[in-house]
Symmetry: C2
Subunit: 312 residues, 2 copies
Amino acid sequence: MAITVVGSVAYDSIETPSGRRERCLGGAATHFSLAASFFTDVRVIAVVGEDFGPEQEAVFKKRNIDIQGIERAPGKSFFWEGSYLDNLNEAKTHTTDLNVFASFEPKIPEAYRDSEFLFLANIDPVLQRRVREEMPDVKLVAGDTMNYWIKDHRPALLEVLKGLNILLINDTEAKMLAGNNNLVKAAHAVLEMGPRTLVVKHGEYGATAFFSDHSFGQAGAWAQLHPFRAPALPLEEVVDPTGAGDSFAGGFFGYLASQPELTPATFRRAMFYGSVMGSFAVERFGTERIQALTRKEIDERFLLFRELTHLD
Amino acid sequence: MAITVVGSVAYDSIETPSGRRERCLGGAATHFSLAASFFTDVRVIAVVGEDFGPEQEAVFKKRNIDIQGIERAPGKSFFWEGSYLDNLNEAKTHTTDLNVFASFEPKIPEAYRDSEFLFLANIDPVLQRRVREEMPDVKLVAGDTMNYWIKDHRPALLEVLKGLNILLINDTEAKMLAGNNNLVKAAHAVLEMGPRTLVVKHGEYGATAFFSDHSFGQAGAWAQLHPFRAPALPLEEVVDPTGAGDSFAGGFFGYLASQPELTPATFRRAMFYGSVMGSFAVERFGTERIQALTRKEIDERFLLFRELTHLD
């Protein structure tokens, strides 16, 4: 089943202990859609500037990603410059030029309207909500956000959360959103805000899913629904963490969308596929590794993740 | 098979966000032996002062732990005072009174000499090495250390590492010991120092085991021996993290010692039992939770850990 994703398509200049890249293709919707495209059909809603050309288009087309929803606007694309020199777990932002993104008004192509899955990548919650409302019939909605929206745009974000089935954020964001420093208590508080399921990404330590009592449509099943933890791969070199979380989301949601039914078992596998895609994403700069990836490599790493965590 | 453990038996005054306790029974050898006692026979080598009385003895005896190797010396027992008010992952030490521990000369009772397993808890590496040399026939030796010995007693510590089969330390210690901020590279460097297996404890994120090519006596098996990651339990309240690492080590090594053979499968289960014992340890102050624990609770939590991590 097809996923529509709304979010940023951008250029990133990135510096890490492994080196520096100028203006790589990036943005949450880019990382998400490339990762998800290994599992299902993906349709992107975004805005780019005149600097987005055939070379960038080709990256999406090669993965059969539908980009008729990527609007071209006069001006430059969203640009981000950041470094991870001291800490690979946290980017230091040097420049954020919203450019054409500043006046982004998401428009949903007619051909996208039968999408059964919707992913609201990290953008202004006002836009997330608008897209959500324009696609009322989707089967499953997941979304992401970040500290900026949690701190300074809370009322708008809380409205978005009410319309989400699954929220994917990191430890710091979950604790900030809940105002509680204990992850489990924070998770329960976030689940009260709307999402039936919360996936908390722990960077190099994997991710944990927390469920509310309606996560799988069975009221009262909560007592059996303990959290589920997917590992991350211990890596000798994290070349560039940019987009790891979006690649996780793409692998996770892409796998879910490829399955006939949402069950605890498919959810667990989806968590593993999310971790798998995140582990590939960081192996090279920007989208380089995911662009070069094969389904065979994904399946092999899935088995490796199983071996990394399973008793037998 | 019996484990001999050498380490501290102490009194701890602890303050955490959950409250404060004065002079609880603590020390690495205490936490280790209580946790290991649920799996196998445990024998303790330590020194205590005149403040160690029948009440403290009873804690060990109730768990059938052999304490004839706990020497009584004139003076007071090792005393530690610390708090975790800002950060449950890192203790802030307020007082360390070595007391009788300052002149500790480990003496191994005759009855301990047939122990097949030896655990060198976190003490002066000079003493760790002496005990190791006096028990040359043990089947498996594991040990722990801490930042203080890594930084200021490195040559003595490196001698200890040469005689260890398994080293259990935390992320910060592994990176400090190797002088490398990447965990995988640090692990490989530590494995070069002697231990055939390194278990890195990640606190609330569980623990990862790294193997060298001789971990299970099969040269060349390394290519198959990917790391193994055990989860930690997401807990609503960490009452007191003191002794969590020692309880992990006790569950881990206790389970290994209870098994007829060291195989990858028993090693994996041992990692889970370590995490299980660590998860109980932090639920109350000091040794309170482990003292009240039953084997049934341990087995139930083991199954919960399986559910928390396994695909089906």
